[in-house]
Symmetry: C2
């Protein structure tokens, strides 16, 4: 039997990592891809960041956003996570024949609003249409270019023992909103995607603390997967206090009902930051003054024990390994 | 009845232009998009070009190339048409669940070879998977960044009355190859896609002639559509001598049999260049010494009559308007 791509290859979890390592990074071997960061740092005058993401979320519209807002925020956030100031986006549509034009227009309006909030310009684009049944309404790709200021050096490889781990707010809202929409769940009262552009928050953070080691937005695969990526890239251990992780009540109760762990649920407007412990409280105060960082919290720390592992200290006082997402809880979340 | 997106909206022809103008350029209003060039010229130190394209060609493999080679060459060529030296690509996959991994690997190998030939690096990427039946095997998006050298100023808006129009080689091979593959036509002897990266040809051209006004690669919609785009952007008339346009015999005979005009058939390794008439022969000689310009020919000239119109002088000595592609001869050609 031949190997086939499975849904879990696109989950952002373990199988995704294997596919990317084996099939793409291995073959397209270069120093940029090997870093496994969200953005490529380009050695041109002025240091640019350049990143890309395709968006295949279903449904196209959901409380708190739509595929267009997601396509802008996702790429703006990837750029921001390298400390870059997002400047330019490309925008490419793959449209299924039969998509209602007014829906497309609503999505483009939403792109425009999100781009305006983030202060980025969509500077180039492309449109393809495929036959009915050969796509699913609309797929969007955005690539982005940002400028990395002098002195900023942020990477998933830079976490150090002693760093504090900060989350910028409550987790799991994007994923649970999509799930509730898709499954027609009625008990999701007040739940909305957290999808927002994080560049203004990051800009405040960099002003307050020039010494941020890593930042990453925990999207597909959730906080648990992102922490595992950084533990691996930086060859460090990470310990997380479950009780310190902020989760809103509707997410908590939906997760309990469905047997899911919020640490694996996707976010689209949150970031994890790793900073020296003695800078953490000052940074936290700065973040909490920003509208997208109000619920920021210190959730853990970096150790030199068990490099590559993430340990969760539970509310019961026990500890267990928090693994990377394996399989796919919820396909097409972004 | 609501407006719906039709296949022709993705053809690169008239309906594509209407959709892009109305729905995207109108709403995402900025100076870069308004130029309607293939690449955005970014005002950063060193002038960068940045472009994107998604590739949805079917079948994924065809004589002369595959979707991977196409995804590199297409974006390299778009950058080259602005006079930029292509440097960096992003690469994003949307994969239909069930795609055979060995096919994906063949495609990545092909991407690598094409990137190597073009001298570009794939520096960032993304992978999404959608359920069986929600895509068609594989879609690829590439975005690209290139460096525009000092003094180069090439745009679809720069054609002047008196310019000669040069085509870099024989036309229609990519489109007719895909059609032959898809329809299982047996009489396509020796036909292969012309898909190649044109940046080394462009580099030789710029060395030989610093005064190239426009360049564009006639992909979807063919030479006729590209000429119409430039006539509109530059507010000039363009006259083309049908007999001067090089067409290989298998393309000629397939087109005759199927009632198609090679001027509307897609190319993936050809370019149109507009240069002052007194520089045309020297440039032509340079092009003919390059492996991808062997069959280059002067095919027409720019006038100040009937701005926005392209006139075809036929083999019979008559003249007719050569319109932009309307409808869609062959969907999913790239």
């Amino acid at each position: 039997m031949e190997d086939r791509v499975m849904m879990a290859h696109g989950s952002g979890g373990k199988l995704s990592h294997e596919l990317v390592s084996r099939c793409f990074v291995g073959k397209l071997n270069n120093a940029w891809l090997a870093r496994m960061d969200d953005s490529a740092v380009l050695e041109t005058p002025g240091r640019l960041a350049f990143t890309t993401d395709s968006y295949v979320v279903t449904p196209l519209f959901f409380p708190g956003g739509d595929i267009g807002k997601l396509a802008v925020c996702g790429t703006v956030n990837d750029l921001s996570m390298s400390g870059a100031i997002p400047l330019y986006l490309s925008l490419a549509f793959i449209i299924e024949e039969g998509l209602v034009v007014s829906e497309l227009e609503k999505i483009v309006d939403s792109i425009q609003r999100a781009a305006q909030e983030a202060g980025v310009s969509v500077v180039t684009g492309d449109t393809k249409v495929v036959q009915r049944g050969k796509a699913d309404g609309l797929f969007i790709n955005t690539a982005g270019i940002g400028h990395i200021p002098e002195g900023v050096n942020i990477s998933g490889s830079n976490a150090n023992a002693g760093d504090a781990v900060i989350i910028s707010g409550t987790i799991g809202e994007h994923g649970m909103t999509i799930m509730a929409q898709r499954e027609g769940l009625r008990f999701s009262g007040g739940l909305a995607s957290d999808c927002v552009p994080l560049n203004s928050l990051v800009s405040e953070m960099l002003k307050a603390c020039s010494d941020i080691h890593c930042m990453r937005d925990p999207t597909r695969g959730g906080v648990a997967t992102t922490l595992n990526e950084i533990a691996t890239q930086s060859h460090v251990g990470i310990t997380i206090e479950d009780a310190a992780v902020p989760v809103r009540p509707p997410v908590r109760s939906m997760c309990e009902l469905l047997g899911l762990d919020p640490l694996y649920i996707a976010n689209e407007g949150k970031l994890l930051a790793f900073v020296p412990a003695d800078r953490a409280n000052a940074l936290l105060n700065t973040m909490r003054r920003h509208k997208y960082g109000k619920d920021a919290a210190i959730v853990g720390w970096v150790t030199d024990e068990r490099p590559g592992r993430v340990i969760l200290r539970t509310r019961l006082g026990t500890s267990r390994i928090l693994a990377m997402l394996s399989g796919d809880i919820l396909p097409r979340i972004c």
